[in-house]
């Protein structure tokens, strides 16, 4: 039975890849990235073999504890948790509980995070293979540790399943997860500085952790190597007890979950409030704008990027404060303009088959394009203006403002025009409606990459005039170039914006059904 479950997981993985060779390419890239990270970790662990045992012990215990913590926390925030072996799907199969648990736990190992953790844990065996006994102890520790990681994540996902199946929780957690992800740089820098300031404290922390469920399993090899077999024996008891208690909790939770499926209901609300549909003009283009803006606010796949944008200057200001040079802030406005304008290049892909409504109603392509672009412009324009002007409160070199503004507006309008053309013709692989923004999207990863890179290439060609003028201004110091740039950015940008809307609209009129057929494949 356990073997059946494992084979099922492998078959699901293989059939997923069979849908398109590009899926394989996507997995290969993900795998290479993880392999790179794991490679570094493994290399470090191998090198630790010849280092001072106390240092090695500190590193292994802290790293292991962090991994265990990660396995416990990440499933809560990333509702992207892999549900291919969702226990709820086995409710009717009457599989004995013990075998279901074993199968699911081992199934958790198949996949990039599971394999990465297992490889890194195995590398600790090499770290401690300074004699036969410490090596065996480390192997036992690694096995118990990896199993604990997986069982902990299962306990957490099962316990929060009913919470996580509520749409509101999913939406909020997906957006909340964005914030630490974007601020990773400053956070890592801060933690790094904290660690270097208190290196003396780390061995103590590791020593303490090694007596807790978090670190016990990982400290076995080090304790045996350091000649503390008694401590090692006690910690083995702690680690084994942790695994046993967690497994028992999981079993209880699973037994309950199998007979009480999560209920994700919500109260009903009467109508009367049309929101943005009341505020915007009641034309087809106005309706599309209202719909798109509503989505920017309500759909985490869109609002996730809205949360990122205000964090952008925070990142740059942080970087500026590190170096004392705020010149780097100059990229905030053009970068925000680019990100926001380019974000609607996947608009139709985000609609998924809901786009059928546009095809069925026969809305004109121009109205569709204009509505989506205006919705994005509604907040992108203020953001770009604020970022452009705001940076000079830090740097004070106001003479650069017109040129800067010209470039940013040029990128914004040109980008919106180009996005309107791109999304009228090409679909890209994006998370499905209702899925977490982090979930690996189904569909054609290869075409996505080609469309994204080619699109960005074309965009950088289209804004060459503005870029050239900005460089001319920076080289010559002549403020006149800046004013010319402002005029060029506005006029060229608006012209390309109009052309993009019109061309995209024409393509959409001609090929709406074909576009819908492409979306149906990704459904």
């Amino acid at each position: 039975m356990v073997a059946h479950l494992l084979r099922l997981k492998l078959t699901l993985l293989r059939n997923g890849l069979r849908r398109s060779p590009w899926q394989l390419v996507g997995l290969a890239f993900g795998g290479l990235y993880a392999l790179g990270l794991v490679g570094i970790v493994v290399a470090a662990l191998v090198l630790l073999r010849t280092e001072d045992p106390e240092l090695a012990q500190t590193v292994v215990v802290l790293g292991g504890s962090a991994a265990l913590l990660g396995w416990g926390l990440i499933p809560v925030v990333a509702s992207a948790a892999d549900l291919t072996l969702d226990p709820a799907r086995f409710t009717t199969s009457a599989i004995p509980m013990r075998q279901l648990l074993t199968g699911l736990a081992l199934g958790g190992l198949i996949g990039i995070p599971g394999l990465a953790t297992a490889l890194a844990a195995l590398a600790t065996v090499w770290t401690w293979a300074r004699g036969p006994l410490p090596g065996v102890a480390a192997l036992v520790g690694a096995a118990v540790g990896v199993l604990t990681c997986i069982v902990l994540s299962k306990v957490v996902t099962t316990a929060t399943a009913s919470l996580a199946s509520s749409r509101r929780f999913k939406d909020v957690s997906a957006i909340a997860f964005m914030v630490p992800l974007v601020l990773m740089g400053p956070i890592v820098a801060g933690v790094g500085r904290g660690i270097t300031a208190s290196t003396g404290f780390l061995p103590e922390l590791a020593a303490t952790l090694s007596w807790t469920p978090l670190g016990a399993a990982w400290s076995l090899g080090g304790d045996v190597a350091g000649g503390r077999p008694g401590a090692a024996a006690l910690k083995l008891v702690i680690a084994a007890a942790t695994l046993a208690v967690l497994s028992w909790c999981w079993k209880l939770l699973l037994e309950r979950a199998l007979v009480n499926p999560p209920y994700a209901g919500s109260g009903s609300r009467k109508g009367g409030k049309l929101g943005l549909f009341d505020l915007l003009p009641a034309t087809p283009a106005g309706a599309v704008t209202a719909r798109a803006l509503t989505y920017w606010l309500r759909d985490p796949r869109y609002s996730g990027s809205l949360v990122v944008v205000p964090l952008l200057p925070i990142l740059l200001v942080f970087q500026g404060s590190q170096s004392g040079d705020y010149g780097v802030l100059a990229v905030a406005a053009p970068l925000a303009a680019f990100l926001l304008a380019w974000s609607i290049s996947a608009d139709v892909s985000y609609d998924n088959t809901a786009f059928a409504l546009h095809v069925a109603t026969g809305v004109r392509g121009v109205d569709d394009r204009l509505g989506r672009a205006l919705a994005c412009l509604a907040f992108a324009l203020p953001v770009v203006l604020i970022f452009s002007v705001g940076q000079y409160f830090f740097t004070g070199s106001w003479s650069e403002l017109p040129g800067q503004l010209g470039l940013s507006l040029g990128i914004l309008f040109t980008g919106l025009g180009l996005s309107s053309v791109v999304s009228a013709r090409y679909t890209v692989a994006v998370p499905l409606p209702g899925d977490s923004p982090f979930k690996k999207p189904p569909g054609n990863v290869g075409q996505t990459l080609v469309v994204q890179f080619a699109g960005m290439g074309v965009l950088s060609l289209l804004v060459l005039p503005e870029v050239g003028l900005l460089i001319a201004q920076l080289v010559t110091g002549n403020a006149m170039f800046g004013w010319v740039n402002l005029a060029v950015g506005l006029m060229l940008g608006l012209a390309l914006f109009g052309a993009g809307i019109r061309l995209g609209g024409k393509w959409l009129d001609a090929r709406g059904p074909e576009l819908l057929a492409q979306l149906t494949v990704n459904r």
Binding site: R269, K270, L357
Partner: protein, 268 residues
């Protein structure tokens, strides 16, 4: 396609008199190596309640998608009230209300917003949309949930809100793909009486279904489709020829297993 591919201009079903609400000729579609629809021609008389029945995978949805401008056919034409769907799509779509099966909705809108959106997309006047949305939601028992996001609706409510979106512009032809799937009996009865009144006032309804009983009771005309081909069409009485529609359907489509094995399934 097969060798004897039907000529798109031949007219297998001769209807004298008025222009049919929907007239399709030689519609065909291939997906990769699989022929989904293999040359279907049929006429839906104006003012009829027309059922399309067929087993799963018969090509009902593909045919209806091609007839309504959602999926471009490889061969053939579709004409709605004299307007060619693929030559003059914008005009043809004004005449049709479509409930497609198996597509998503813009489900982060509230029910009320979604129906309003469908109306505004068609360029309708704001006040007309507002009054019709209110009436449609009440008629479909969705008034209490008008402000709930469609993503939080049950399957049956989702079907009903999609139906409301298809009705908002008072089309002359309604094309409903599996309209009664997962709809509760009370709502189904409400929908049926809405559709009956619509047909009585001169509208035309096409529904696809594999519930024969429902089609026999509800529709006056029927077409039987299997494996991408049209097996029979006409009034319900003509097609069923004295038997029940279900018996006739099984006879036409074949593939009935005379359950002889499965002895072990007998409990005693």
């Amino acid at each position: 396609m097969t060798a004897e591919h039907p000529d798109p201009h031949s007219d297998p079903v001769v209807h004298g008199g008025p222009v049919p609400a929907l007239s399709i000729r030689g519609l065909a579609k291939r997906f990769g190596g699989k022929i989904a629809v293999d040359g279907i021609s049929l006429d839906v008389p104006a003012g009829s309640f027309f059922g399309i029945v067929g087993p799963n995978g018969a090509g009902k949805t593909t045919t209806l998608s091609m007839a309504t401008g959602l999926l471009r056919p490889d061969f053939g034409t579709a004409v709605v009230h004299g307007v060619d769907v693929w030559a003059r799509p914008l005009e043809a779509k004004k005449l049709m209300g479509i409930l497609p099966d198996g597509v998503r909705l813009f489900d982060r809108l509230t029910g009320e917003q979604l129906v309003t959106y469908a109306g505004l997309l068609r360029g309708m006047d704001k006040d007309v949309v507002a009054s019709r949305v209110g009436e449609l939601l009440s008629a479909l028992d969705l008034y209490e949930d008008a402000g709930t996001l469609v993503v939080d609706y049950s399957a049956g409510m989702t079907k009903k809100i999609a139906l409301a979106s298809a009705l908002i512009h008072a089309p002359r032809l309604l094309v409903l793909d599996e309209p009664f799937e997962s709809v509760d009996p009370v709502s189904a009865a409400n929908i049926r009486s809405i559709l009956d009144r619509y047909v009585a006032s001169g509208g035309t309804v096409i529904v696809s279904s594999h519930v024969m009983d429902l089609v026999q009771r509800m529709c006056d005309h029927v077409a039987v489709v299997a494996a991408g081909r049209l097996l029979a069409t006409g009034t319900v009485d003509e097609v069923r020829a004295g038997a029940t529609l279900e018996e006739r359907f099984v006879q036409l489509v074949g593939g009935r297993n005379h359950t002889e094995g499965l002895e072990w399934l007998r409990t005693s």
